[in-house]
């Protein structure tokens, strides 16, 4: 006999951005939540579950924040489609919990009025009611409930019992078996928006008693933080702090991860007999995944700061300050955050472009993100600079090696702006997204939400490393290992592999930019992650690993390469699309192969041109 399928009662949280919806979601569901993507779109789908006081299992969907159901950005389209039932993967919710910031009710009241036409029972919860009370705002929730025709409760996402009233009301709806009926929603025209606004205004006037708008804390902070001079100084100081943290705090855990993978490698090698399997496990999977996971500490620290600043309310201010700077290249103020992330690794940077509503501006940001100097380039830069640039100072203060490193970073930033500008001029000629953005009140970040946010980011990155990135690693290992070296081989084994063949075949093409066959071959495994090229060079020069190996490699290349070749390789690494994982992530984020292919092509052309100019000029000058 078939059992009738029992399904959870479904509720969805909907509200304006910055209404404390996510904090409320966390308070309701605790750690019982999962983050996934809506199929076909790159919007995060946050779902959780809890058991209500009456013992009913309830699933909760946290919908992206929005001001209306019109759906301008991918996020807002998801919100609309989930509510209207146009989204395959989401059943329509049985109940909408409308989350309003109790200190700023107006816009949410207007949205609630719009939502009345979608045919789903609603509860309005006045969130952050503690802050509202503290500011002397008194809300007649009974009056609001009568006027709106839906229950109105208070909620506080922090502290105990802050959600009791809301949970009670949810249980009442469950008991009534309230559920969705047909929607008669249609997009509001501007006249209807105005009408709803006036209705919302009249409700605020009748049911909300607020003290005269005081010069509150947010205003006072903004007077400094948005100041044309101090604001920039503060922003630069914040960026400097983040960079310091990403590069210094992460150093120790990165070394530990790297050492752990090395140890694992050695252990597997000693246990397994020398075979293809052992090689796949060690040189392919462990080295490859280790090479990407080593960036986890940097990503965790970076996202800690990004989420912290977002929760504080500072990110919107940073976007305000940076809007004209990145706007010069046709990007949005919000593009600034993904570009910043890309200094650690382009993958989280590209993932962070989801905050940009306009598709053209989002694509332009994705396309230039890999030009930012990610930390995987650092080992390559360090090796070459160490081997070729004398450790001397200019005018007694500026270190020459540091100067070269700095100019490589600068080259990346400048080229990103130029390329973004060209893309916006040539490919996406349309108008820029209007720059309209709420500057939310500053809030004290909650440790729990912060920790959960960082953990979710880390988990997404690790999952990427475990799936797409792992498969790329195996492919690159295969190319670098098969076919094996013949019995009487004199050259390193990689030389006989497909990678070796490709490298040798490419070498004539790369000769005009000064690359010898060793470099050409090392570029193939270097596609796994940029810094893998260092290890690959050591392999082709048949030098053992470890610290002594690195010093040996520096000596070897210093003896065998010309300065022109070294500079050319540096220029190559500024621009070249030497990271298969980035390309795969771009494919995922854009849902099309068109963009990663375009990215690969333009970066390759740029890299070749830059290396050609550098090599030919340096050879000519060097005689």
């Amino acid at each position: 006999m078939l059992m009738k399928p029992v399904r959870d009662y479904r509720i969805a949280l909907i509200g304006n951005p910055n209404c404390g919806k996510t904090a409320l979601f966390n308070a309701l569901t605790g750690s019982q939540q999962k983050v996934a993507n809506y199929p076909g779109v790159t919007v995060e789908r946050k779902e959780g579950a809890f058991v209500s006081p009456a013992g009913v299992r309830i699933s909760v969907l946290d919908l992206p924040g929005t001001y209306s159901l019109r759906g301008r950005s991918p996020d807002e389209v998801v919100t609309r489609d989930a509510i209207l039932g146009a989204l395959d993967a989401v059943d329509r919710p049985d109940l909408l919990v409308c989350v309003a910031d109790a200190t700023n009710l107006r816009l949410m009241l207007r949205l609630v009025l719009e939502l009345k036409s979608v045919g789903i029972p609603m509860i309005l919860t006045l969130n952050m009611s503690d802050i509202a009370a503290h500011r002397g705002i008194v809300i007649d929730s009974g009056g609001l409930a009568r006027e709106l025709g839906i229950p109105v409760v208070n909620s506080v996402a922090v502290g105990h019992n802050g959600t009791t009233a809301l949970l009670g009301e949810i249980d009442r709806k469950v008991a009534e078996a309230a559920s969705a009926s047909a929607s008669n929603w249609s997009e509001q025209d501007s006249g209807e928006i105005r009408k709803a606004h006036h209705l919302a205004d009249s409700m605020v006037a009748r049911f909300v008693a607020a003290p005269a708008v005081s010069k509150d804390l947010t205003n006072r902070i903004d007077r400094i933080v948005l100041h044309p001079v101090f604001g920039i100084v503060i922003l630069l100081a914040v960026l400097f702090l983040i960079f310091q943290a990403v590069f210094t705090w992460a150093a120790v855990p990165m070394e530990m991860i790297s050492a752990a993978f090395d140890a694992l490698n050695t252990m597997v090698k000693s246990v397994l007999p020398d075979s293809m399997l052992s090689s796949l496990l060690t040189d392919g999977i462990i080295t490859g995944v280790g090479g990407v996971l080593v960036f986890l500490p940097q990503i965790v620290i970076l996202f800690f700061f990004i989420i912290l600043l977002e929760d504080l309310g500072y990110m919107a201010r940073a976007a305000f300050l940076m809007d004209r700077v990145v706007g010069g290249a046709g990007l949005h103020g919000r593009s600034f955050i993904p570009l910043l992330s890309s200094f650690a690794c382009a993958i989280p940077g590209i993932m962070a472009t989801r905050v940009i509503e306009n598709r053209r501006q989002r694509l332009a940001t994705i396309m230039v993100a890999p030009l930012m100097t990610c930390s995987a380039r650092i080992p390559v830069y360090t090796l070459i600079i160490g081997a070729f640039v004398p450790r001397q100072s200019i005018a007694g203060i500026v270190n020459l090696q540091g100067l070269v490193m700095f100019s490589l970073y600068l080259a990346g930033i400048v080229s990103a702006f130029v390329v973004a500008f060209l893309f916006r001029r040539l490919v996406w000629k349309g108008k820029s997204e209007p720059f309209i953005m709420e500057l939310p009140s500053y809030k004290r970040p909650m440790l729990r939400s912060l920790a959960m946010g960082v953990l979710q980011r880390a988990y997404i990155f690790v999952r990427r490393a475990g799936t797409i990135i792992l498969s790329m690693m195996v492919l690159i290992w295969f190319l670098s290992t098969v076919p094996g070296a013949p019995e009487a081989a004199t050259e390193p084994a990689i030389n006989y592999s497909f990678a070796g063949m490709i490298g040798h075949a490419l070498q004539p093409l790369l000769a005009p930019i000064g690359f010898n066959w060793q470099i050409s071959v090392a570029l193939i495994p270097g596609m796994a992650a940029r810094e893998v090229a260092v290890g690959a060079l050591a392999t082709v020069y048949a030098i053992g690993g470890g610290t002594s190996g690195e010093a040996g490699l520096a000596t070897a290349i210093a003896g065998q390469w010309s300065l022109a070749t070294a500079l050319s390789l540096l220029a190559w690494y500024v621009f070249a699309p030497q990271c298969a994982s980035t390309l795969v992530v771009v494919r995922r984020e854009t849902n099309s192969w068109q963009w990663p292919v375009l990215m690969f092509a333009y970066m390759l052309v740029l890299a070749y041109a830059a290396s050609f100019i550098v090599f030919q000029t340096a050879s000519y000058l060097g005689g």
Binding site: N104, A205, I232, D323, R324, F435, I436
Partner: protein
Amino acid sequence: MTYQSPQQTEPLPGREEARPLVRLGRGRPGLRGIVMSVGNSKLVTGEAGRDFDLELEKRLLEIGFVEGAHVEILHEGFIGKDPIAVRVDNMSVALGRREADAVVLASESPNPRLLPDRSR
């Protein structure tokens, strides 16, 4: 209809000359007033009534720029004095001057400080 903002009064009919109409996009920090029109109006587009961006109008309305709202320019950016941060009733909104040009307000001050008109 009523709006909460006790320190200000509605403009009185016949006293508009004391409250000049200005585009928000031309204002400097300190400019205060009441929104008179958003989007397609003669005040913005002139008598010619050129096609106005309806999407922009809706977005401005949704974030609170609606006729009758009390606004005040709080800050401006450091490059080209753009974008601006505006207090709309009781929330702060950042927007570009190009977007702000679609909002016309009756200035509280009879002779507000303005940027030169860039649109004509």
